[in-house]
């Protein structure tokens, strides 16, 4: 575990910057809090985006990747649009999610599972499939919650807004090749 509050460790900072398009701007953060103030999920986050950035600066890898904040991000882009230093905050949130998943450090969040259920459908069909997603994710993950949402799903089906069969694109093999190549280029 790297924890270097006293002794600044730029390795983590550089890793985050490296993995984010335009991430270099992160070092100019003013700690003004516009991001944290704007964030609709702010109250649910254990650390505001601003705090995460200071923690990244301090090299607090473990604590940052364990934070629930990136998983609460709803990608509203308010922070990024308002940031006086034009830091790509939403993109940084994505970066932190990817790093947390790879380091298996996310605690206490269903979000990664939701993402991988979603991606699973995209990679096998080329399309997302709302019905399958809803059932598979909720059944495997939080059967309890499904009870509450259940009637809604039913209504969607009744109102002809949730097809029961997934559609597969023709070029699914081509798509998979592209995605696999992209992943290996990024080294994952």
């Amino acid at each position: 575990m790297s924890r270097s509050l006293g002794n600044k460790d730029d390795a983590f900072l550089n890793e985050v910057i490296e993995a984010t398009p335009g991430g270099e701007a992160l070092v100019t953060c003013l700690q003004c809090g516009t991001c944290g103030g704007s964030c609709p999920s702010g109250p649910d986050m254990d650390h505001t985006p601003r705090q995460l950035f200071q923690m990244i600066n301090a090299g607090m890898r473990q604590e940052v990747l364990q934070s629930n904040a990136p998983w609460y991000c709803v990608t509203c882009y308010y922070c990024m649009t308002r940031c006086p230093k034009q830091i790509p905050i939403t993109d940084l949130m994505y970066t932190l999610k990817r790093m947390a998943v790879r380091a298996k450090l996310y605690d206490d969040s269903d979000a990664p599972d939701w993402s991988s259920s979603f991606i699973g459908f995209v990679e096998s069909y080329g399309r997302s499939f709302e019905f399958g997603l809803a059932t598979r994710y909720h059944l495997t993950h939080s059967p309890l919650r499904k009870v509450g949402v259940g009637p809604m799903g039913l209504e969607m089906i009744v109102k002809d807004r949730m097809p029961l069969r997934p559609e597969r694109i023709k070029g699914i093999d081509q798509l998979r090749t592209i995605l696999d190549t992209a992943k290996s280029l990024e080294g994952v």
């Binding site: 003013l30 003004c32 944290g36 505001t48 006086p84």
Partner: protein
Amino acid sequence: MTEKVGVYICHCGTNIAGPVDVEEVARWAKENLDGVVLARDYRFMCSSLGQELIQEDIKNEGLTRVVVAACSPHLHEKTFRTACSKIGLNPYLTQMASIREQVSWVTEDRAAATHKAKMMVAGAVRRVQLQEELQPTEVPVNPNTLVVGGGIAGIQAALELADAGHKVFMVEREPSIGGHMAQFDKTFPTLDCAACILTPKMSDVGLHENIELLSYAEVDSLSGFVGNFDVRVRKKARYIDEDACTGCGICIEKCPKKVVDEVFEAGLGYRKAVYRPFPQAIPKFPVIDRDTCIYFERGTCKACEKFCPTEAIDFEQTDTYLDLNVGNVIMATGYDLFDCGKIPQYGYGRLANVFTSLEFERLCNAAGPTEGHILLRDGVTEPQSVGIIHCVGSRDKQHHAYCSAVCCMSALKFGHLVMEKTGAEVYSFYIDMRPLHKNYEEFYDRLLQEGMHFIRGRVAEVTDAARLPGEDGKLIIQAEDTLIGKQRRIPVDMVILLGALQPRFDAKETGLKFGVSAGLDGWFTERHPKLDPVATMTDGVFIAGTCQGPKDIPDSVAQGAAAAARVQGMISKGTVLIEPIVATIEEARCSGCRICNTLCPFNAIEYLEDKAVSYINPALCKGCGTCVAACPAQAISGAHFTNDQIFAEMEGLLYDVIGSNGATVKSPQPALEPA
């Protein structure tokens, strides 16, 4: 005759000697460059000992040319020219090679830096041998001064000069002088009443025998050069005869047309079509605003004319032009306030009770639209809580990256005024508190004691969408309290936006008119940021106050006084030396095509009808070289920048390509056919 060149390589401490092997450069120059009789390296060439070294060599070794390889000529060319001329060598026979700015500061590799330094020295050595003796001309300085802008900075400058006995023309665009300070109620940190300290100075300007005040006027054009500027001023039609008007104000009272005053009242109050921005205006004469006057719109009304006791109203007036001669110019055109509507999440223009800082100044001002009562936009209700938002448009890459320097202090002033006048709760939302000057921190401390609330966090948004208890009917300020690390929503009745100070909307054109450049952020650029803050790159044109960058009143006043002192120095010296670096036209080659005539940015070229050739007035020419390059007959050459000199320098720079034997320097003629 062969010249005897002395070469001096400066170490500049380790600035140059760090990356450049200075001894090697000196050795190489001595051994390889034609004409070099001696080459030395020395720790600080600009020191008196360094200068004496050159002087000794001129005396003892009979040097006829001097090359100093050191910093930029911008900094020390004058030093070395003077040193040489003191010992009898014409100053234009020296040349500098900038091996600090152009080599050591920008090159890390020692071998590469040393090599580049050698090439730069070779260029200077080749060039200097072709340089000619030139004599600067001395011209008298016109003791009159033009001050542009009658804010506190311009007022200070004008009074200093006028009190010293010099004539000043002050040109002010608005109907009255006073600038922004006239709009304020109190001034930080002492809480002096702005009018009480400003109006005496304004009336001094109005009454001063040495100041000619040209209000409601603008500079149309400026030409000439330091000591001798020609200025054309456009006096806008006031439609009121200043000689007849007594300033009684009856016209204003009788005028039926009321409009929102966007300038002085910052859009928060009204004025008439014939108006005076404020009661203590200097001059006292009103103006009729052509754009809103009923008569100009529909051809009837003339109520003002009917009631004027002295028949001063004159609808036939037109703009008039005045030609002035001055020796120096001081620009003090001030700032504009940031357009707060550009940050829509703060609601300005949409949410009624969001105000700008200037609007708030008017609200507080006893002469303002509410007679000094701090009220909401309904004009009746006193706020019970007020939020002040810092850095609106400042420190923000999407608008202005710089800090506006005065608004943190404005926030404290506003906080005090609100609490004193209404007893409301006041919240300041700041990023960093910047009370920088004398007694400012103490003022901050005072506000802490008075109970103002400070929340560290840049505001995310201001909304009227209530969602928590206590928010109904309020403006809610949402921000992260960064010292707690939590989002907070503070409901208030009134929000004040501390908008950035930004360059005047027309600063670019004004700068062009006066030959003053502006930085990327739009503020006028001083000659040197530390050592020459009020001069500009154009001799004889000075800047003072906020046109140079955001600053408070004490700093604006200091700059006004500093600019005046610089001008006084010029006046008491009485003459200025004009650089002899000018272009001349060889009459025999000039075909009279007149292409150069219109290109000259300084209008220095005229056409001599009798001889059918163009002629350059050496007093007006700045040696910019535009005409030299443009003349199709190659009839124009620029002194100190002749073709031969420039080619020699280039050949020197290409020493390692051409070798030492480009000895006969000839300007290559462009080939007509490809070989």
